[in-house]
């Protein structure tokens, strides 16, 4: 039975739809203390006095914790590899609060009502400080958001807290100023991309208990159980060996659960009280007190020859990390590293800028991770350049974009937080993706626009994108395969299934190597005591990095089996043919089934447990590629934009499971469309979040997302498991630029600040009209 490149339902889909208890809160101890967090009403303030006496005396309150109860250990909640590329600028609790929703105190009580009551009885006297609410004012402001002496970087990331800089970076190839001087056409422009909230349906959830061995067991809705264990140990100064982190099913992550959230609080309460505790974020807390996408400003210069050869790219970025620096540097770098190589034929490139602190909700990891922001800027600018050159945007891209077997100097210079890795793109079907997408959208008939009914105009637009497959030489994954009697296996992996289906595809890979059926490969994952290490679900790494680990472990198991089969039949290993069920000699004279062999190994002959373990760390990060094409309809009377159809042609190598890969791309497209047209994290002038519930922050519903057509290119990545690259993020990157390009093609309005709003489009339409009238 063939198991890879085969569309199979996810192994947990049925149970989850039937409502089996499987998520973090479903598995909390029934008698858990309920935790509530007192959160700051001010964007920036010093806690002058905090009195918890009355609150602590409420009947049913078990403990009230403030910054006074914690030693001052700065950590980062980022949940990345170690040493961490994010500044250590966060204390579990601090005597300063730096955004509305920042933590002031924790209450644990027998029930929610008591906890809520106690929260209100905590007396806090704040010295309210003037905040920085505009990220363009942050650099070198006289207000310093992080003035605490203990904070630090782990290696140089450009951290200068006195100037409100969380991280900074600069690189160049060639001399861009020279190049641009010699170009026939130079474009200089700016773009703004907004903060976006993840809005995973399951809020951040964690619970803790002390088990019968006296160890702290944390259940968490996390993307990074091993990083959670490490960071909890650091932050609470509690031995790593006494912590176990279990990740049950997770109700969506998208990067929002890569960072630490409630784990600090449940751990602190349970360690102090000895009692089980739990914390489920309210939706308001998810919005205000978790993380969102880094807003960015891009200042872009492009230079080209008049016959359409792109010569130079110059990009300067200002990124807003909010109150804390989680993923500040790495998201920033990806905005260049996973965008600039798309145009690898330029003479020179410059990329740099700063990531600044503000008193907003912190930014963190979010699917696309900088690449979507960078893609919006560059792919919009490319269309603007094409207009100046009077060249078809597809022709221009086909001439200038990266092709199979080629390389880019960027790969070597820029990694994630550190230097990158030299590589060429061995699998790159971008040319096919562009060509196929053009056919599917019917570009010839529809470009640039078609007049629709009454006030409606339809336009098409496109963009190309790339992402990565894990972080080479840093992120490691491992797998363990155990043989059971009757010949079925356990696949035990650190990899973190957050709904993307990694348990399923990793089982498919193992089953493929061992030529067994999927239901004979029993998966257990993401438990720091029982499973081997895996960095976690981020950086589009699971299929590629964890997948490769599984291939290696499964191949080891296969070798062990053949050795045992040969021994049992009394022949040499080379003489054995194994088809997943039966070991036999070539002449078919001797044979034994896997089931019999495994029973012998358990009970009667040469008894032993066969376990194979292996791990993998990438030596490169082969990018998945895609071309995104969109048809929009713009109402010229109202400015309202509707997406009529979205075409995605994706090269992610072999799809291990084409159905789950399809779901990844469709879901990512919807999030990208949401960011482009509907979603915006909005603050009031006081720094309070206006968009702090699902009515004020609107994600697309099934009424807005109605048509998508996703296809996969026939592609094979030599270094990937069965030819696969990763596919988790690539789908989100193109919508901002493709939709804005389509709007421009429809009505001549260039949106340079996201999200696209009806007002902005209409204003642009009216301005164009005015200009036309003036000319006449």
């Amino acid at each position: 039975m063939k198991n890879v490149n085969r569309g199979l339902p996810s192994i947990d889909g049925k149970g989850l739809m039937m409502g089996k208890p499987a998520y973090t809160d479903d598995l909390a101890e029934p008698n858990s203390l309920i935790i509530k967090v007192l959160r700051s009403p001010h964007p920036f303030a010093k806690i002058k006095k905090i009195d918890t006496k009355i609150a602590s005396e409420v009947n049913g309150v078990e403990c009230v914790l403030t910054y006074k109860d914690f030693s001052r250990i700065p950590v980062t909640r980022a949940g990345q590899g170690y040493p961490e590329p994010s500044p250590h600028d966060k204390f579990v609790l601090d005597n300063y609060v730096r955004h509305i929703g920042d933590e002031v105190a924790i209450v644990a009580a027998v029930d929610l009502i008591t906890a809520q009551k106690a929260i209100k009885l905590i007396e806090v006297e704040y010295e309210v400080l003037e905040p920085i609410l505009d990220f363009e004012d942050a650099y070198n402001n006289k207000i310093i958001i992080h003035d605490e002496p203990e904070i630090h970087e782990m290696f140089p990331i450009g951290f200068e807290p006195k100037k409100n800089i969380a991280a900074a970076y600069d690189m160049h190839v060639g001399n861009v100023d020279e190049t641009l001087k010699n170009c026939d056409v130079v474009l200089e422009t700016s773009f703004y991309s907004q903060a976006q909230a993840h809005v995973m349906m399951e809020p951040h959830t964690a619970n803790a208990r002390i088990d019968c061995y006296g160890r702290l067991v944390i259940y968490s809705s996390t993307q990074t159980p091993y990083h959670v264990r490490r960071i909890i140990s650091q932050a609470l100064d509690y031995p790593l060996s006494k912590i176990r982190v279990i990740k049950p099913r997770v109700g969506g992550g998208f990067g929002g659960k890569q960072c630490i959230h409630g784990e600090f609080f449940v751990s602190a309460v349970t360690l102090r009280t000895g009692k089980p505790s739990k914390l489920v974020y309210t939706r308001k807390e998810v919005f205000e007190s978790s993380f969102s996408r880094h807003p960015m400003r891009f200042d872009v210069k492009l230079g080209a020859t008049k016959d359409g050869i792109l010569k130079g790219i110059d990009v300067n970025v200002l990124s807003d990390t909010g109150a804390y620096g989680e993923h500040a540097l790495t998201v920033f770098m990806v905005a260049g590293a996973k965008v600039l190589p798309l145009y690898n034929k330029v003479d020179s490139v410059r990329f740099g800028g700063k990531v600044v602190y503000t008193n907003h909700t912190p930014a963190g990891a979010f699917r696309g991770y900088g690449a979507i922001q960078g893609n919006y800027a560059l792919e919009s600018a490319i269309d603007m350049m094409c207009e100046k050159l009077v060249i078809d945007p597809i022709t221009f891209r086909e001439k200038n974009m990266i092709k199979e077997g080629e390389t880019s100097p960027i790969f070597k210079i820029m990694g994630e937080g550190t230097e990158g890795i030299e590589m060429s793109v061995e699998s790159c079907k971008l040319e096919y993706c562009v060509k196929r997408g053009r056919e599917l959208i019917n570009w010839k008939e529809k470009y640039p626009f078609v007049k629709g009914k009454s006030s409606k105009v339809r336009g098409v637009g496109m963009a190309i994108a790339m992402q990565g497959s894990g972080i080479p030489y840093i992120d490691m994954a491992s797998a363990m395969i155990k043989l059971n009697d009757d010949g079925f296996y356990n696949l035990i992996i650190g990899a973190t299934d957050i709904g993307q289906g990694s348990d399923t595809i990793l089982a498919q890979i193992a089953a493929e190597v061992l030529e067994t059926d999927l239901d004979k490969m029993i998966v257990y994952s993401s438990d720091t005591d029982l499973a081997p290490f895996d960095c976690g679900a981020y950086a589009s790494s699971t299929t590629y990095v964890s997948g490769n680990a599984v291939v290696k472990a499964a191949k080891n198991m296969r070798k062990m089996l053949i050795k045992e089969g040969a021994r049992s039949l009394g022949v040499k290993e080379e003489e054995i043919i194994f088809d997943g069920k039966l070991f036999q000699t070539e002449d078919e004279k001797k044979s034994i089934t896997l089931s019999d062999l495994s029973n012998h190994l358990f009970y009667s002959e040469d008894q032993q447990q066969l376990v194979a373990t292996n791990s993998y760390v990438g030596t490169k990060s082969p990018p998945p590629f895609m071309a995104g094409y969109v048809e929009v309809e713009v109402d010229t009377e109202t400015g309202v934009v509707k997406v009529l159809d979205y075409i995605a042609v994706v090269d992610c190598g072999t799809t291990i499971n084409p159905l789950l890969a399809l779901g990844q791309v469709e879901g990512a497209l919807a999030q990208g469309i949401g960011m482009t047209l509907y979603e915006e994290v909005l603050y009031n002038q006081r720094g309070g979040l206006i968009s702090n519930n699902l009515m004020t922050y609107r994600i697309p519903t099934r009424k807005e997302i109605t048509n998508m057509n996703v296809e996969f290119a026939d592609s094979y990545e030599e270094s990937g498991p069965y030819g696969a690259k990763s596919v988790g993020e690539i789908g989100i990157d193109t919508p901002p630029a493709a939709i804005c390009n389509a709007i421009y093609n429809a009505v001549g309005v260039r949106i340079q600040s996201l999200p696209v709003t009806a007002e902005n489009v209409l204003m642009g339409i009216l301005k164009n009209k005015e200009k036309r009238n003036e000319k006449q």
Binding site: L16, M201, V280, G499, T706
Partner: protein
């Protein structure tokens, strides 16, 4: 105070507080298929059926449910399993957090609408948000399910 509810066909008497919402009553009584996703009655993951009609249990007072029939995903196991097979076939399975509520709503829709159009399906299910799937896979699956079983 006590309320009498029929949950998934069984009569139950449950102790509730006057201001308690059905979502908490159900989860506290171990009907864990019912999820919480928001504080503003706008995500749909807490949907249960009240006398066969979908309601948001997060904003429905338990005392108001006195004497009514409540259905959770635990009460439509066969149908949920059947629907999930269609989801699996269309790549519409992801984190699953929205799915028990969605299965219930599809189940109710099937009883209420005969042969709904694509637009009617979307209208009926619009309150069931999903952040993972991008909806189009769910739509394909729901259509196929209805075609095969209506």
């Amino acid at each position: 105070m006590k309320v009498q509810l029929t949950i998934n066909g069984y009569k139950k008497e449950i102790e509730v507080k006057p201001d308690e919402y059905l979502l908490d009553t159900l989860r506290n009584s171990n009907y864990l298929s019912v999820k919480r996703g928001c504080d503003s009655s706008s995500c749909g993951v807490c949907t249960v059926l009240l006398d066969g009609k979908p309601i948001a249990s997060c904003s429905y007072l338990s005392v108001k449910a006195e004497g009514h029939e409540i259905t959770t995903a635990e009460g439509i196991q066969k149908e949920a399993a059947q629907i999930s097979a269609y989801f699996g076939d269309e790549g519409a399975d992801q984190c699953g957090f929205c799915n028990p509520a969605l299965a219930l709503t599809i189940y109710a829709m099937k009883r209420e609408l005969s042969d709904p159009t694509d637009e009617e399906i979307r209208d009926y299910l619009v309150g069931n948000l999903c952040r993972c799937s991008g909806y189009v896979g769910q739509q394909r699956a729901i259509r196929a399910y209805l075609e095969d079983t209506l």
